[in-house]
């Protein structure tokens, strides 16, 4: 449904994104993940035909964003990060305008507007001026605006930004409902959001694509090592040296001490269970072992690792 190839955008001499390529299948909900300034908004603006790329191409539903921009724009619903709406219009006036501008034929218009208002839970505020609505309602009006043209592809830039937890849950469940029905590409810098809403993750950092996979696969792929947390009573440097000396240990990272005990995060080769060896090493040295447990890699860790790995390369 979406095919992006070698997308590059320069602002002056600085590249906002470089050689970004990925594909999204029909009906998929894909998360675009990256720190602020990574190039998420730039990519989405290009896909939404707001601005052209410096080089590279993208096709949505088979239409080229450069040469067949109008055809692409007929098939997308876009919600920019800042949720720009006309404050001096009522919700219904605004959605009717959006429907008309998106070419919804007159007889279908009012029905379509009523439908999206119901779906986005804004029917109760339809006669109110948009500028008087809360941020959560405005966000939903923005989403309704994106949906009113019945688009095949939804492009949502940070759709949960600035909402309170209850509103975030509502927006997320709205997006989850679209699975299979529409192709959704949404950006976020909140990690748990991706595993909750998206079937696939595209991680971008510093304008470059870092990884594209399902949240589960990313977990697997990166757990080449497993990690064990130890809490030890003993001299810090010696403990660290001893732990690092155990066969199969890849790295030892000291953590914040707690209650005067040292805490270490030990990375080990994945297939080996080194818990016994580590316990023995501590005990043999005569120190007290107060805690020992394996730690799972969270998506957050994966994200940080991918991003830092890219920087090292």
């Amino acid at each position: 449904m979406i095919e992006v190839e070698g997308l590059t955008k320069f602002y002056g001499p600085k590249a906002a994104i470089e050689e970004v390529s990925f594909q999204v299948a029909k009906g998929e909900v894909v998360g675009f993940l990256g720190p602020n300034g990574a190039g998420k908004t730039t990519t989405m603006r290009i896909l939404a035909c707001f601005m052209p790329p410096t080089s590279g191409t993208a096709r949505l539903a088979g239409f080229d964003i450069g040469k067949q921009s109008l055809e692409v724009r007929r098939r997308i619903g876009y919600l920019p990060e800042s949720v720009p709406l006309y404050g001096d219009m009522t919700v219904r006036q605004y959605l009717t305008f959006a429907a008309e501008a998106k070419g919804v034929p007159r007889p279908e218009r009012s029905g379509r507007v009523a439908g999206v208002m119901e779906r986005c839970l804004i029917a109760d505020v339809q006669e109110r001026l948009i500028r008087n609505l809360s941020k959560g309602y405005q966000q939903r009006v923005g989403l309704a605006q994106a949906l009113v043209g019945n688009p095949e592809v939804l492009i949502l830039d940070e759709p949960t930004l600035g909402l309170d937890p209850k509103q975030i849950i509502e927006i997320r469940s709205l997006i989850r409902e679209m699975r299979g029905e529409r192709t959704v590409i949404l950006s976020t810098h909140i990690l748990p959001e991706v595993s909750m809403v998206c079937q696939r993750v595209i991680i971008i950092n510093d304008g470059r694509l870092v990884a594209v996979d399902t949240p589960e696969n990313l977990n697997l792929r990166l757990q080449k090592s497993s990690r064990i947390l130890l809490e030890v009573e003993g001299p810090a440097e010696e403990v660290q040296r001893t732990l690092a000396g155990v066969q199969g240990v890849l790295a030892v990272a000291p953590q914040e001490p707690r209650n005067g005990r040292w805490r270490f995060l030990v990375e080990t080769e994945r297939e080996k269970d080194l818990r016994k060896d580590l316990a023995r090493a501590v005990a043999n040295s005569g120190w007290g072992l107060t805690e020992l447990r394996p730690v799972d890699l969270t998506l957050e860790d994966i994200f940080i690792r991918l991003v830092t790995r890219e920087e090292e390369a």
């Binding site: 035909c49 109008l70 724009r73 709406l85 959006a98 008309e100 501008a101 998106k102």
Partner: protein
Amino acid sequence: MGTLAIFKKELRAIFASPVAYVVMAVFLALSGYFFWGFLARFTFYSIQASMNPAIGGGLNIMEFVLGPLFHNMSIIMLLMMPLFTMRLLAEERKTGTMELLLTYPVRDGAILLGKFLAVVVLFLCMLALTAIYPILLMAWSSPEPLPILAGYLGLVLVGTAFLSLGLFTSALTENQIVAASLAFGALLFIWVIGWSADLAGGTVGKVLGHLSFLNHFEAFARGVVDTKDLIYYFNVTALFLFLTLKAVEARRWRA
């Protein structure tokens, strides 16, 4: 389709804002004052002329009342039109709604046309309200209708040219005051460019004279329609609409 949607939205926004009413009120108050002034002078001269056969007849309402009134109205328009156009694109740029609008399946040209037509309708409403002056004159006298219509045609043409220039400056910035200032400066400059024509003389003078808004309006104010003036105003309007389109397209690249 797209143009119509934008046109309706824009018209609603224009008449929901106090700017339209304030500008119209100021325009009508000033032009009303000028109408009264010219009419009083005309009455005074007429009485004098009737008492002194040496001056003779030939006092003409078009020449003494409506001509100068149209001329002054065009100058008030020059001051007021930038206030109509300043928000058209600058506001959308500032609030970010332009980003959304430009991703709707509507051509850039259709968006601009919708906005331009909406502000032209506002201007025509304002101008229509001044029809009270010639109507009053017709009640007490019998001015020729065709020169009056010619004068109004001139006002419509010069007004739409002003609006197209204003739309263009509104595309250049996201600050409405800057847009209005630029439009006002440019309009005034094109208006008075004819003055330097007299100094320059020769071919340069002729070219400068042809560029001036002022020179092309004079004939209309006298009630004369000349195709060269018609073509001039059409060209100016088309040129600035085209430049606006290019400015919006360029903004996409730099967005």
